[in-house]
Subunit: 425 residues, 2 copies
């Protein structure tokens, strides 16, 4: 993406106006909404405290001169006008957290975006295209499953109807939670979904150890690895652990162990270092010390940046289940699948330049292991991400931490990218 020298200078100017102290202050202020004594944040999607956090952000955006809109999934858009009505450049992330999350997951992307608007204001720059900072609804997916509801419905509004009847653990539907949000945020005009965008840029903490281990401040995210979720079900017959001879058993746990052991020992895992396999969720019935289990279900979370490797994994899973010769009934089902999301090379080159200008060192090109709102936006418009390091790779945890310097450098890179894109024809 070659850009005129003038526009590159403007991007550098805006980048130079990013202020670390101001960014730190807004991170600290936002963290008070749902702040915990251990330094973590508990602010699940569309709860009262999450709506108070949104109000804090709305006030902040209005002070910066933004128009604030809310769409049908309660995504918030803080729009800074451009000199034309060309499709806007959007940046941002999510404000909801895990039940016990950190101060940065999601929040950083929004606050870095607002810091870019501060820097644009301070440098008196009017961009060609409007710039928006977005707050996506329910990225985490812990109160209402699945996650990334806001970004996925923005790009495919028909999904909203599917989500309306999802319920949280207390029985509240997503429909009712949205309705409460609209009541609380009644002063906001309704924005449209799936509006044309010139680009979407998301700054986020890495949530993994790659940047820290490489001792690099900024990451250019090539894309988001593909994912498949399976459930494996083993059905046997419950019986007394003492009275049932071994050769008369249909032991569902034995079947599950045989399958699981073959999965974790798959040569594919050695051959393809990009493959990541987790057997994290188990249901065991009756789960009693002296009863042979009649039912075991376990989840498979398998990820790779190579779609053909995911396909090979599924083939292996199928072969393992078909080769089982015991008495239980085995089956598997794919409950979610998403191919590798590749970001466009032109944008990656712009992020590389922005990171180099921001930190005076080359960024690391890397793959995102986690899902982000950017994954769905990539279905809709040119999309890219900037990563900053996570100490010890820890996230979804009160101990989540990124140094002030790295947060500052990430915001500088974001300012460069957003400004440059906002001057595109």
């Amino acid at each position: 993406m070659s850009r005129a020298h003038t526009e590159a200078s403007i991007s550098e100017l805006v980048q130079s106006c990013v202020r670390a102290d101001r960014l730190q202050k807004s991170i600290a202020e936002l963290a008070t909404f749902g702040g915990r004594e251990d330094g973590g944040v508990s602010r699940q999607a569309l709860t009262a405290v999450e709506l108070e956090a949104r109000r804090y952000l709305i006030d902040k955006a209005r002070k910066l001169g933004c128009e604030v809109l809310i769409d049908a999934c309660a995504n918030l858009f803080f729009m800074r006008p451009g000199t034309t009505s060309l499709a806007p450049v959007l940046t941002g992330s999510h404000v909801d957290t895990q039940p016990v999350g950190g101060r940065l997951d999601g929040a950083y992307g929004i606050l870095a975006g607002l810091e870019v608007l501060e820097a644009l204001n301070d440098s008196n720059i009017k961009t060609k295209r409007p710039i928006g900072v977005v707050v996506w609804t329910n990225e985490e997916g812990c109160r209402f499953r699945p996650g990334t509801m806001g970004s996925s419905t923005f790009v495919a509004p028909e999904r909203l109807e599917e989500y309306q009847d999802c319920r949280d653990d207390s029985g509240t539907s997503f429909r009712d939670a949205l309705s409460s949000a609209f009541t609380r945020l009644h002063d906001l005009p309704r924005g449209a979904q799936k509006i044309p965008l010139h680009a979407f840029v998301e700054a986020h903490i890495e949530q993994g150890p790659v940047l820290e281990n490489a001792n690099v401040a900024l990451g250019t995210v090539i894309g988001i690895q593909g994912l498949r979720w399976y459930n494996v079900e083993c059905t046997g017959i419950a019986a007394h652990a003492g009275t049932t001879p071994m050769d008369a058993r249909s032991d569902a746990m034995t079947a599950a162990i045989i399958v699981a052991q073959q999965l974790i020992a798959l040569p594919l895992l050695q051959e393809h270092p990009t493959l990541r396999l987790t057997l994290g969720h188990w249901i065991i019935s009756p789960n009693s010390i002296n009863t042979i289990p009649d039912y075991v279900q376990f989840s498979i979370d398998v990820r790779s940046s190579e779609d053909n490797v995911l396909a090979s994994f599924e083939q292996s899973l199928d072969t393992i289940l078909n080769s089982y010769t015991g008495r239980c009934k085995l089956k598997y089902s794919c409950v979610f699948a998403r191919r590798f999301t590749r970001f466009p090379e032109q944008l990656l080159e712009l992020v590389d330049i922005a990171c180099l200008k921001a930190s005076s060192r080359p960024a690391l090109r890397m793959i995102s292991g986690a899902f982000h709102d950017a994954m769905y936006l990539a279905d809709h418009c040119p999309t890219c991400m900037i990563f900053v390091p996570s100490k010890d790779g820890i996230s979804h945890n009160a101990a989540e931490y990124t140094s002030n310097e790295h947060l500052y450098l990430g915001a500088r890179a974001l300012a460069y990218v957003v400004t440059a894109l906002a001057f595109d024809q």
Copy 2:
């Protein structure tokens, strides 16, 4: 155990007075206490309905001329006097059931015992020794853990103090449940624990498929197989399933699968058909599809009639854990152990004769896979058991079933054994 011809004739006489219709009627009547629409029984230890069932049994025993005593663990003793004050012969079982149990598990042993008293009355026999029918408290161990509280405290009264503070799921202590029982059964004089007994005989359904598969009506139980319970704990580090490279993981589930797979594949299981292994109870943290587990605990229930085989199993378990080279921390602990309980050969020979006389066919000598009150009584006095078949080996289930004919034959065998023992010097 050679017995005078006269006494053998008396035993046969009493056996001949056992009536199938009367036994069926009492089984049906007792099953109304906690009876379920599906034919099962829900009558957990010391609940209101279990105390009503006890009252039914007390009334029945008094009508048969028994003195009824209650001991410190609420065990009930229905005592039919003998012509001497020699140590009594005791038979019986338990009246409590699993949350969903059948009509026979425990109940059969008590009602067959009372049918023996009916037969003794009908044949106008006064035995030398008193005969008691006992109702042991909380054999099942589902409301208050552990099970066999009544029989284990009878033989070792110091155990009662340990049990007093056990609580059921609603928070009621065993102490309070006992206190309610004493209030409800206030008319019963207190009997002593650990009184000298000449012998204990327990009739019980098999709860396994061995008799049915062998097409034999009655089983002479050689003993109760040994048992060891272990917990294996695997501790790793929780992390994001997407962002954590495979070589940076401490996955507690992977460690558990590696250990469990080696256990189920142990050559020892092939070499010793008496060995029974169940991995029935699992705790997985955080048990989330997209988080690497940081903690997995699983139970081992291992049983054998050969104590040296159980010792070999423990050695193998130790070797497997020591040979683990991954990043998790593994440990195991033995939470319960009981050696093989062998019943005395003299009593087995008497049971063999009684079964042959009862059914005109030899009994099958067999090992009990399940625990019974008789296991603890064997620590205190000569003890034996008589088994009747369980259809499809099913128990702890509304579908638990034994044919009327088999129940009748078992009561006939019991009558023979109890009468013979009650004439011993």
